[in-house]
Symmetry: C2
Subunit: 339 residues, 2 copies
């Protein structure tokens, strides 16, 4: 009774969510600082009786605030139950059943799973040995997923290379900018100008709101409208819409937290380099590091035994590295001590 492609697929494994509060959790790139005080005010002002009603199915007020932030029109914005919902919608909206989904490797390990769920052929494009994208290797495809800055590498691709690639590619390019608020550059102007580029953002990282599940996409109105046609009718609950609206209106709070994390990132990078670690140049809220004189997986287990949880991706180019979320200064000192 189960579709054969579903029976065959290897599901995505989310990073562990340990419940033990004594664990130092540096494995899922959460923000160590609380969200805007406006979030607490929004929750306090909520009338639970209002929850008996359906939410706005198209999240109008939230999308207006996002559109205004980016100088876009509201019909160029869709909000989703996390970026994950929007990424999955793209696999169903922009590729024919006999089409192709391409993506870099290593990158967000959800992409191959999304291809398999959609039952559509997929092709990983290996990064160069220095973890740099060579877009000349990308074949013709209906959809290309580009995480920028990339995960788990933390590195941003060259903006000119991205632009040239998008202009030459015949399918839809989805640039997943989950970490863009921590980076020096972003690609929103491509989503505003080109007919085939969608940029995605999330509230899970820079806005400290992974718990509410909110992401959005900006792009050409015709592509955004296609995503609206196939989304669940009421995909965003009322609380998520209200909290997201409060958070996006408090850019100052988000920016201050980002600055703290970037400063900590610089400091920890220096310390790790001093200790002999290879640290890729991070444009995100995490570091991708290669330990000296010890197997990465062994180190991962050592850290775990000291209640420090980071992320290890076995196999391929990532096997010699650990991905470490940038926490508070105190947390990172604890991490450095554990190392």
């Amino acid at each position: 009774m189960i579709r054969s492609s579903v029976d065959r697929l290897h599901p995505y494994t989310p990073g562990e969510q340990p419940k033990d509060p004594s664990v130092l959790k540096l494995n899922t790139n959460e923000n160590p600082y609380p969200p805007s005080p406006a979030v607490a005010e929004t929750v306090a002002a909520l009338d639970p009786a209002d929850l008996r009603k359906y939410p706005d199915p198209v999240a109008t007020e939230l999308r207006q605030a996002i559109a205004s932030l980016h100088g876009a029109r509201v019909d160029q914005v869709i909000a989703g139950n996390g970026s994950d919902e929007l990424l999955a919608l793209c696999t169903r909206a922009f590729v024919e059943p006999d089409g192709l989904i391409a993506y870099l490797e290593p990158s967000y390990s959800l992409y191959p799973v999304l291809g398999d769920i959609a039952d559509i052929r997929r092709e990983p494009i290996p990064l160069n040995p220095g973890f740099v994208a060579d877009f000349s290797n990308v074949p013709a495809a209906g959809l290309f997923f580009l995480t920028n800055p990339n995960a788990p590498t933390s590195m941003a691709a060259d903006p000119d290379a991205i632009r040239a690639f998008c202009e030459s590619f015949s399918g839809v390019v989805v640039i997943d900018e989950a970490y863009a608020d921590f980076a020096d550059t972003h690609c929103l102007e491509l989503a505003m100008r080109l007919p085939n580029v969608i940029v995605m953002r999330t509230f899970s990282k820079s806005y400290s709101l992974a718990g509410i599940r909110l992401g959005y996409a900006v792009g050409p109105a015709s592509l955004i409208e296609a995503l609206f046609r196939i989304k669940d009718s009421y995909n965003l609950d009322a609380l998520t819409q209200a909290i997201g609206l409060a958070a996006v209106r408090d850019q100052d709070h988000m920016r201050r937290n980002v600055e703290k994390i970037v400063a900590t990132r610089q400091r920890v990078t220096g310390r790790l380099v001093d200790m002999g670690y290879q640290v890729l140049p991070s444009q995100a809220n995490f570091l991708f590091i290669k330990p000296p004189g010890i197997d990465a997986e062994v180190l991962f287990q050592h850290l775990r035994s000291q209640h420090v949880i980071v992320r290890y991706f076995p196999g391929g180019m990532t096997a010699e590295y650990l991905r470490v979320t940038v926490g508070t200064d105190e947390e990172m000192d604890e991490f450095l001590n554990a190392l």
Copy 2:
């Protein structure tokens, strides 16, 4: 760049959500009473700082409470971002690309759209002229959607007929029991006993929580596991999980509200019959009524001009009827006066 099946499809139209508070809104089967006081306590106890973390990806505590309520094992339960998410997952999990999705007509008008989104052939099975299902007309299919009690008719199918159909059908039967708490019977025992039956429930109606987007499915562990394999990784936000848990633990509150609505339903049915309306025997929190001596669509517009919004489904067997949500006694008196 848009998949041709997406370009062609007619999207689902959710019931209107007017913002004008002077409108009497009887069009989307919301519960007129507030949710359990435990919901307000849960929201008040929330630490917004916790929202920086990802939620439990598999909603363990909530699913345990639901499983315990129904005497099921936790691996027989999946929770979703509204039942709509789970219904859509079924179209992707249980039908091969060249398979068939069948459903009654009239019924929940989302089903044909879900078939079109999945790009899978679909076949509506007309109800008899008395709006009764004749399951002998159902062809072999990978998936059959059965809303019971049905919408928009409000009527429940004969339990023996449902049981016999499920036992003879070779594909998966999804029994969407959104309104079962308002009915005299339900089909959970089929989901616990048969290898091909899934029962869905929602927090949107009897629990007064349409705003949080929460539904769940109960069924054989192998089918439930297939839905887990293809859902979005973190499909349920932290607040929805916490609020749903509080609500499901307060069965008394939900039952009291259901009793009030059922009593109002009986009273309004009597009044309408006295006024010459044909009223189908409702097992749900709404009435499906045929007005005497006036076109249903004309009456719909008349009510609208008096700020009373009900639901009208043009075309086919539903064109002579209006669907009216059962509100409070005061609201229904206002509705009767407007009629």
